[in-house]
């Protein structure tokens, strides 16, 4: 929203010594975030009011040769006659008019900041032309190029600075609407100005429209307009006035209103519409003007019979912008005898649009349910200035006062008035103590400061107990109208001694705070506390730290586990941590052979690429392999730690989807490489794991894994994840050739797993024996079986030992293979002699013979 600082200054006297910069900073810290400060003054440098003295047509062209009087401006350019020569092609240029002249050397305002088109002295058809006479479009106030702007001679003299005449020298603030979502009053200049007064510590002087909230319009005749609201929740109040419009022709002059509207980002239409918009900008209350005759004709009635009701789904209405909308049941319609004439709060209907020939007007000033209008806004994508204000909840109180102001400014004779007000609400009254205010803010504001601060912006404050000044004699009840002495019941009666008096002086006051009618956002104590804190400045609150006992914080074990894994995987195992989106395409889910229907589907996704909430991490990582290969990376391993879910995983106790944190790894290595890394990871974690061939369930859960080259991982006999090589057919879908291995691990089952703590360090004092053993076994003998056989024997022997695989050798075409191990053992109690050592090796040979292996 754009706010002109000069307009604010027309409502609030800014204390001397407060610069614009300081004022803007204070607005930013106590009222609303200022996104941008716009300074238009450089745009209008070298732009003057000029009087066209003579205007001769240039033969055989549409051009005119004009001589203009620019008063005291640009003496350097004036000719002997004191005039400046300009060639102008506009049809409306004529001698005697006041126009806007852009001097040579100046930039055409319309192009300012973009192409910065600079004017010069140039020859047109043989005539020198100094600068140009400008149209409203070239001045930046209109989109259409029609004619040059004509200035009302009552407003200016030749030579006046254009910017000064049209108040363009002040700064314009572009403020962030979001932080005013709850403040409908601040969507009007007056409301905004009131807050500015408040943050400056000044009492705001209410303009008339806000002073007389009970304003009434007395119609001159007994003509009637009927209004019926079918549901007070949809429309708490609907006021309207009927009057004759003497003339609605757009002014031939460039008006102040048109420029004001342009500054607010709006466009001038015609006097009637401009007035509704100007009043909306000032008060926040949108108005809508219907053409009376069209309204009556549409409804087929003698007099306007307005019915405000819900739309029926599918009901059609053509709006002012020409679009035909299909209503939903949440839309509210203004109807003429039940025929839709406007989509309430959003936009008027084409069928009752006012135009320059409009003779009679029904002017609406109403308020509607912000909830319904929000749905309207969403359903039809209407983001008009009016609906932006209505969806903040415009107060019903203001419809009549603003309507009265409108007819006053139009200076018309009102023939009929209606005011249906089913949604009348009581003023909000909050009782609060100064202690509660200071207690929550962490401040020490006096009762006086608090009361003044609230009263400055229109709250009525009555001091019920305690006192606002520092002595018992001045205990008063305070309202915004008068502050008369009133008896109090606590505090002072017993204030005998000086000390007690001192206690009382700092004692707590109870305040009865009545909100002004336009503050629909004040309901509870905290709302009052916010007002006091904000208006006096949060930045003035003294900082402190809470007192807390020294207790070690409790950190989510999953957070800790993830931190631990990052260090192991990235720092020790040289993997790369990726983050990929939680949303994936149905296509990706299908590619890895899973059912996309098991994924939670985002119904308003940004694109089909981001439609499914993922149920596994691995597919997202697989999707990132190819582009990284193409970028020249080799032999990398990617991992991600993130949450997944799936419909078949069900809901938890809170009836929300069961979420699981997973680790996904994708490695450009084979099964054995990944296995070694996984086992190393668990060794670092000190968690005991086992693995075995992929079960049918695991194969189904990870259909992209090649079951003959994959395994499932177990902790405490429960499957926690699966790893292995990806099927070639799946790799082809990802346009990948090399061997790729993956691991999907459910960390929920890892996070609580017991960590092994060594309780017995097995290092013998006596020398250990080291031997390399090679076993010849059948080609299909599992390595693990041979290893276990040796391991089991040594384990039973009571010795300290270790068995390490060394190599697996199987010559081409051979039916046997050689498995080599390095074994190391020692007796915990003595040094083994050579006979004992031979006996042990022999025993191992016997054991392995049992599985058909021989030592070679």
């Amino acid at each position: 929203m754009r706010i002109s600082l000069n307009k604010i200054k027309s409502y609030v006297k800014i204390p001397d010594g407060v610069s614009d910069q300081e004022l803007i900073e204070r607005i930013g810290s106590r009222l609303v975030e200022v996104e941008e400060v716009i300074d238009w003054s450089p745009m209008y440098q070298g732009v003057y009011i000029a009087k066209v003295i003579s205007c001769e047509p240039i033969p055989e062209t549409h051009l005119h040769l004009c001589r203009i009087d620019v008063g005291s401006a640009r003496e350097d350019l004036r000719g002997d006659n004191g005039l400046i020569q300009v060639v102008c092609g506009a049809p409306n240029v004529h001698a005697g008019m006041l126009a806007v002249w852009i001097a040579p050397g100046s930039i055409v305002p319309e192009t300012y900041g973009n192409e910065n088109f600079k004017l010069s002295v140039r020859k047109l058809r043989g005539y020198e032309s100094y600068g140009m006479l400008a149209g409203a479009d070239e001045l930046g106030f209109d989109n259409e190029h029609k004619s040059i702007a004509e200035i009302d001679p009552k407003m200016a003299e030749p030579g006046d600075s254009f910017a000064e005449v049209f108040d363009l020298n002040g700064l314009i603030l572009d403020v962030e609407n979001k932080s005013l979502t709850h403040r409908p009053d601040c969507f009007g200049l007056i409301g905004f100005a009131r807050e500015v007064a408040g943050i400056l510590g000044e009492k705001f002087i209410e303009p008339e429209v806000f002073q007389n909230l009970d304003a009434k319009i007395e119609p001159s005749r007994t003509a009637e307009v009927k209004v019926k609201i079918t549901d007070g929740k949809l429309c708490p109040r609907y006021s309207c006035a009927v009057f004759d419009l003497p003339d609605n022709q757009p002014s031939k002059y460039l008006t102040l209103d048109a420029v004001s509207l342009a500054k607010a980002g709006m466009r001038s239409i015609d006097p009637m519409v401009d007035l509704t918009n100007i009043l909306m900008l000032e008060t926040g209350q949108p108005l809508h003007a219907f053409d009376y005759d069209k309204l009556v004709a549409v409804g087929g009635t003698d007099q306007p019979e307005i019915v405000v009701r819900s739309a029926k789904a599918g009901e059609e209405l053509q709006l002012l912008d020409g679009k035909v909308v299909q209503c939903t049941a949440d839309d509210i319609l203004i109807t003429s005898n039940n025929v839709p004439v406007a989509m309430a709060g959003a936009m008027g209907g084409k069928n009752t649009e006012i135009d320059p020939s409009t003779k009679r007007v029904v002017l609406e000033s109403a308020t509607f349910s912000l909830y319904n209008l929000r749905k309207t806004q969403m359903a039809h994508g209407i983001f008009s200035e009016a609906i932006t204000r209505f969806t903040k909840g415009q107060p019903a109180t203001m419809t009549m006062p603003v309507l009265a102001e409108a007819v006053k400014r139009l200076d018309v004779e009102v023939t009929a008035v209606a005011d249906d007000y089913p949604g009348k609400e009581k003023k909000s009254v909050v009782k609060i103590t100064t202690d509660e205010i200071n207690g929550l803010l962490g401040t020490n504001y006096s009762t006086e400061e608090i009361v003044n601060t609230l009263e400055n912006v229109g709250f009525e404050v009555e001091v019920l107990a305690g006192h606002r000044d520092a002595s018992c004699e001045t205990i008063r009840s305070a309202t915004s109208e008068d502050r008369r002495l009133a008896p109090v019941t606590t505090g002072c009666e017993n204030a005998g001694s000086r000390k007690e008096l001192a206690d009382v002086e700092t004692s707590v006051a109870t305040l009865k705070v009545t909100s002004p009618a336009w503050r629909t956002d004040i309901h509870i104590k905290e709302d009052i506390i916010e007002e006091v804190g904000r208006l006096l400045g949060y930045d003035n609150i003294e900082l402190s730290l809470p007192e807390k006992p020294f207790i070690e914080p409790e950190i989510d074990p999953m957070v800790k586990l993830k931190q631990e894994l990052r260090r192991i995987l990235s720092e020790r195992l040289e993997m790369h941590e990726l983050l990929t989106y939680s949303f994936v395409s149905r296509d990706l889910v299908s590619k890895v052979g899973k059912n996309p229907d098991d994924c939670y589907e985002i119904i308003n996704s940004i694109s089909p690429e981001l439609q499914c909430f993922r149920s596994e991490i691995v597919p997202s990582l697989l999707d990132k392999v190819r582009e990284n290969l193409k970028a020249g990376h080799r032999d990398f391993t990617l991992y991600e730690l993130n949450q997944v879910t799936r419909k078949s995983g069900g809901l938890n106790r809170e009836q929300v989807p069961e979420m699981k944190t997973h680790l996904g790894i994708v490695s450009l290595g084979d099964f054995y490489q990944l296995k070694a890394e996984i086992l190393a990871m668990f060794r670092e974690l000190k968690i005991a794991v086992e693995y075995r061939a992929l079960s049918a369930e695991s194969a189904e859960a990870h259909p992209y894994l090649e079951p003959k080259r994959s395994a499932e991982l177990l902790i405490d006999d429960a499957v926690v994840g699966s790893f292995g090589e990806v099927k070639t057919s799946v790799l082809h879908k990802f346009k990948l050739d090399p061997t790729v291995s993956t691991f999907e691990l459910n960390l929920e089952k890892v996070v609580g797993a017991p960590r092994e703590v060594k309780t017995d360090v097995k290092i013998s004092k006596f020398p250990s024996v080291e031997r390399d053993l090679t076993l010849r076994v059948a080609g299909d003998m599992p390595f693990g079986r041979a290893l276990n056989t040796i391991d089991n024997y040594l384990s039973k022997s009571g010795m300290y030992y270790a068995v390490e695989p060394v190599s697996i050798y199987q010559p081409e075409g051979s039916e046997t293979k050689n498995l080599s191990f390095h074994i190391k053992f020692s007796d915990p109690t003595r040094t083994l002699n050579s006979d004992e050592i031979s006996a042990i090796i022999k025993n191992i040979a016997v054991e392995v013979a049992g599985i058909g292996a021989e030592i070679v």
Binding site: S29, P546, R566, Q643
Partner: protein, 344 residues
């Protein structure tokens, strides 16, 4: 004396000649160091004569011999150093490897910069005594809005641009979705006379068009503090303290008003741009939204707002990481590009 020569004597003579020649041959073939060592050995054996000298001469003799010995030893040390250096082949230190050798490979892994930042944030808050709970990535209307005092259909919900699933679940648009749960989880601490102090990091989602400064997926960290005496002054104090630890310097803070249905009063916190980020004073960075927890939010979690007060805040982690590393495009984070990761 019978001076007949015997053959054996002759051989003895020849042998002695051989020994002498060998000795010379050895001396010839010896390096400087070995020669010096031999000299030292001879000196040592000469030194043994000291016993045969009259005691009065022994002192002078010892000193002279010692000086000689020291001189030789110094020569040996110098010669050894020279000899060692002469044997060393000089490297081309600018080359990545020796000629004909494979290039050395130093593999490194990477922690995602966003996660490194998130972990750092968690570390700072936990060092300040905050418990840590993780946010969830699919939630419901109740936690996302209702428990946070957003009336149904309230336009304030629009600001959050939420995604929805067919079932009506919401990938949360802020970590505040965990506030209600955090309050309930730690309510017992209040009952035990303590306070609630918890931060909630997590991934959040907003349905908005992606560009250099907007991502639909990003990370936030929420903070919640509740006690009998919590004040807004404490809130600003805690947050200032956090940023001072995080940036390792004293900082100025300021605020601007904000609006969140779940806090009252609400504010946005700015910090003066830290020196480590190139701040020269006078530049302000919007860091987070914060406010005193709305009594309705406390009530809904079963906490009596007449007795307890609290404050809450939430801010983006992506922004912290972008500021720290001078990144201009938020889209890198979720791009999955190793080229990006290897920059860190």
């Amino acid at each position: 004396m019978d001076r007949t020569y015997r053959l054996s004597d002759y051989f003895t003579y020849l042998y002695s000649l051989y020994l002498i020649s060998r000795k010379h041959a050895i001396i010839y073939s010896m390096s400087d160091v070995e020669k010096l060592k031999l000299e030292l050995k001879e000196l040592n054996s000469e030194y043994a004569k000291i016993k045969t000298l009259p005691p009065a001469e022994r002192g002078e003799f010892g000193r002279t011999m010692n000086a000689k010995k020291q001189a030789i030893m110094a020569q040996i040390a110098a010669a050894e150093a020279e000899a060692e250096s002469a044997n060393v082949e000089a490297l081309d230190i600018s080359a990545p490897s020796a000629p004909n050798e494979p290039l050395p490979v130093v593999k490194r892994g990477t922690i995602h910069p966003l996660m490194a930042e998130l972990d750092r944030v968690i570390e700072v808050y936990s060092s300040m005594g905050f418990d840590v709970v993780e946010s969830r990535q699919l939630d419901d209307e109740y936690h996302m809005f209702e428990s946070l005092n957003f009336p149904p259909e309230h336009p304030a919900r629009d600001g959050y641009d939420t995604f929805r699933t067919a079932e009506g679940f919401i990938p949360p648009a802020h970590t505040s979705t965990m506030q209600h749960r955090a309050l309930k989880k730690y309510k017992h601490k209040l009952d035990e006379g303590g306070e609630i102090a918890v931060v909630v990091p997590g991934r959040v989602f907003r349905n908005e068009d992606v560009d250099a400064t907007h991502e639909h997926t990003f990370y936030q960290c929420e903070g919640v503090f509740v006690s009998k005496t919590a004040t807004m002054g404490q809130m600003f104090g805690v947050l200032k303290h956090f940023f001072e630890i995080y940036y390792g310097q004293k900082l100025k803070i300021k605020t601007q008003p904000g609006y969140f249905p779940f806090t009252e009063p609400s504010a946005e916190l700015l910090i003066e741009k830290p020196v480590s980020l190139g701040g020269k004073g006078g530049d302000w960075l919007e860091m987070l939204g914060c406010g005193m927890i709305h009594p309705n939010v406390l009530k809904m979690a079963g906490i009596d707002p007449e007795i307890y007060h609290g404050f809450a805040w939430g801010g983006g982690i992506d922004r912290l990481a972008m500021l720290k590393y001078g990144l201009s495009d938020v889209r890198y984070f979720e791009s999955g590009k190793l080229d990006f990761l290897e920059e860190f």
